[in-house]
């Protein structure tokens, strides 16, 4: 129905919203494999993508889905897949390939309780570290983490834009409860949405060096089949794209892959906070837990406690400076999370001992309630 500011106001499930946003972001290829709790994304895209001339394919497994996404992206198509824990594990080798060969793509992981088959499909937030270090070898990664359905919309668009701008795989981490909850979303008109596409070469094919980057560290990417014949390999490669074992070139490539993300860190770091100005206790959280954190600091304020909170919408690269600044100003940071303690390690790295860092883990397949965090805030 028509909503405020001419926007289309809709009641959408997180997974549905992700699929709608993907199409508006320009996604024209999806390959996936059925897995709860992410499957609605595939189902909706199987319907919507061909309506806009896009392509959907259900592959024979999770590994193949990731591979097909990379293949499609090489032809210039904005591409994505969606999965959950076990499938995310299977995709890791090819995510590393995408990172190393700098092929833009979006991977949605609607997390469920693991390890292994775990609790299908109760929520958990235990894939934070897998999102960062799931594939072997050093590699940079970007991971975004919404806590509401409107944020799913916003961060799905951003995931595609970042993938294209930096030529990286971007992981959209979602909580099962966010994927399945329905909320009101104001869908903007296509013309209101900023769309970023991968940089294109401005030289003729004979001068094209597929891995020669500009000052932003991102090389222009010619789609296959447009006259720029180039080589893609998971071996270390130089600016020509061809394999090399020369130590200086190997070193230069790895460092550029990291620096292109580091130099864009400010642009791709998204957070939201409340009551930070005078807080002496700050809750740092992400995803569904950030919603409980927001409620908990409001409840604590009602009790006269100077509590504040920060929601990290960008998990990777981790906002060490931002969290470090907070650590320098407060007595205590509380890190509630639905895992045995993953986010807290990064918070401690950022805090560098400047304040107390206290964790709160819940790993029984149930979300963390605001009252639990309030109790932790009061436990001084």
């Amino acid at each position: 129905m028509p909503g405020h500011n001419g926007r289309d106001l809709r009641l959408l499930q997180g997974n549905e919203c992700c699929a709608e946003a993907a199409i508006l972001a320009g996604c024209r290829f999806f390959a996936g494999y059925p897995i709860t709790p992410s499957t609605e994304i595939a189902e909706l895209l199987s319907e919507k993508l061909p309506q806009v001339g896009g392509k959907f394919i259900q592959m024979e497994d999770e590994i193949a889905s990731m591979a097909a996404v990379i293949g499609a992206s090489l032809t210039g198509a904005k591409s994505m897949t969606a999965t959950s824990g076990p499938g995310f594990s299977l995709k890791q080798e090819n995510i590393g390939f995408a990172s190393f060969t700098e092929v833009p793509c979006v991977i949605v992981n609607v997390q469920r309780t693991g390890p292994s088959t775990g609790l299908p499909t109760a929520p958990a937030q235990a894939d934070l570290m897998q999102a960062r270090w799931g594939t072997h070898g050093d590699h940079p990664i970007v991971a975004l983490y919404p806590s509401t359905v409107p944020e799913v919309f916003d961060l799905t668009i951003k995931a595609f834009n970042i993938a294209e701008q930096l030529r990286v795989p971007v992981i959209l981490l979602m909580d099962e409860v966010v994927g399945h909850m329905r909320e009101k979303v104001a869908i903007p008109h296509q013309s209101e949405i900023e769309i970023v596409s991968r940089p294109q070469p401005d030289v003729p094919p004979e001068e094209y060096l597929p891995y020669a980057a500009g000052p932003d560290g991102v090389p222009p990417m010619a789609p296959f089949g447009t006259g720029y014949r180039w080589h893609v390999t998971g071996l270390y490669h130089d600016e020509t794209g061809f394999p090399t074992t020369a130590a200086p070139k190997v070193d230069r490539l790895m460092k550029r892959l990291y620096s292109k993300i580091e130099s864009a860190a400010d642009e791709i770091t998204f957070t939201s906070d409340e009551f930070l100005d005078d807080a002496d206790t700050v809750v740092v959280a992400c995803g569904i837990t950030a919603r409980s954190a927001r409620r908990s600091v409001r409840l604590a304020r009602e009790k006269g406690i100077r509590a504040g909170m920060v929601q990290l919408k960008t998990i990777w690269p981790f906002p060490y400076d931002l969290v470090g600044d907070i650590a320098g100003r407060v007595d205590r940071i509380i890190v509630p999370e639905m895992n045995m303690g993953q986010l807290i390690g990064e918070v401690e790295r950022a805090a560098k001992g400047r304040c107390e860092v206290v964790g709160y883990s819940r790993v029984d397949g149930e979300p963390i309630a605001p009252a639990e965090i309030v109790a932790k805030i009061e436990e001084v």
Binding site: R28, F29, A31, E47, L49, P50, Q51, G53, K55, I57, M59, E60, D61, I63, A64, S65, A67, A68, V69, I70, G71, A72, S73, L74, T75, G76, A77, S79, E93, N94, F97, F224, G225, T226, G227, R229, W230, H231, V232, T233, G234, L235, F242, P243
Partner: protein, 274 residues
């Protein structure tokens, strides 16, 4: 003098990494001659490989080339073909890549009948890792992980692809390089999934460990032990033990995946317009 094959080679990287006498170069030559006869524009050819000796081929070829992860070439190629159906997507893969780690992708690429041409370089061994047995190593043959002789049976990939639904299935050896090239040409022209098994010699690992002599001896062994499909059909199966059956085994005309998907797009657009 016209040197057509050189047009397709990134000559700056030659000589290639394959061992002296390795048959992979013969197969690659057969593929390039097929592309040459069809006069495919280089910009419209995409070569995809996985990991292993055979999968090093794309690096030497002046097309759109992708050297992917082990076993996954067909899955990458499926994404490329579906996103750009007008490209000629050719998968160059080895027996470890296609028959072991990538076996399931082969089955499903054939079942979907995606318009891909797959050439499997079958040297019956994992060469890149120094000679372990593969699913294509015949029972009783030796490998670095089969020091007492291979326990397992090898399997017939052509039968597999035919059963899975591919539209073109053929096999030849490096002793039949012209025939092999003709098969690849036919495969490229086939709408739908096409599979050519190219039996090739690995003198360094398979040949040496199995005392098969020089590369020339191995090619001669292929020649003597190959039998064409029509002749094989007249023999008792027991007489075919240890023989390599060569020929075009199947030509089908099942609809190609991307053409069917185009119809899906039409239907979806109509549904959206209603």
């Amino acid at each position: 003098m016209a040197v057509p094959i050189d047009d397709y080679l990134r000559t700056q990287f030659m000589p290639h990494i394959w061992c002296p006498g390795c048959g992979h170069g013969i197969i690659l030559g057969a593929v390039l001659r097929a592309i040459g006869r069809l006069d495919l524009p280089k910009d419209e050819v995409c070569i995809v490989s996985g990991i292993g000796c055979a999968s090093r081929a794309p690096g030497y070829l002046d097309f759109n080339t992708v050297h992917t992860t082990h076993g996954r070439a067909l899955a990458f190629a499926t994404g490329i073909k579906i996103a750009r159906p007008d490209l000629h997507v050719i998968v160059l893969t080895g027996d470890g890549d296609a028959a072991a780690i990538g076996g399931n992708h082969l089955i499903h690429a054939a079942r979907r009948n995606v318009g891909l041409t797959t050439v499997m370089f079958n040297n019956s061994i994992y060469g890149m890792t120094n000679g372990q047995y593969s699913p294509m190593t015949p029972r009783g043959r030796y490998a670095s992980t089969a020091p007492y002789g291979n326990v397992e049976r090898n399997f017939d990939m052509c039968e597999l692809v035919r059963a899975a639904g591919g539209n073109y299935v053929a096999r030849a050896t490096t002793a039949h390089a012209r025939q092999l090239s003709n098969y690849v040409e036919n495969a490229i022209q086939t709408p739908g999934f096409a599979f050519v098994e190219a039996v090739t010699q690995c003198p360094t690992y398979f040949g040496r460990r199995n005392k098969m002599g020089t590369p020339v001896d191995m090619i001669e062994w292929f020649r003597k032990n190959s039998i064409n499909a029509a002749a094989a059909a007249k023999l008792d199966p027991a007489d075919l033990d240890g023989k390599i059956i060569i020929g075009e085994f199947y030509r089908g005309d099942a609809p190609e995946y991307t053409e069917v998907y185009d119809e899906v797009i039409e239907r979806a657009k109509e549904a959206a317009a209603r």
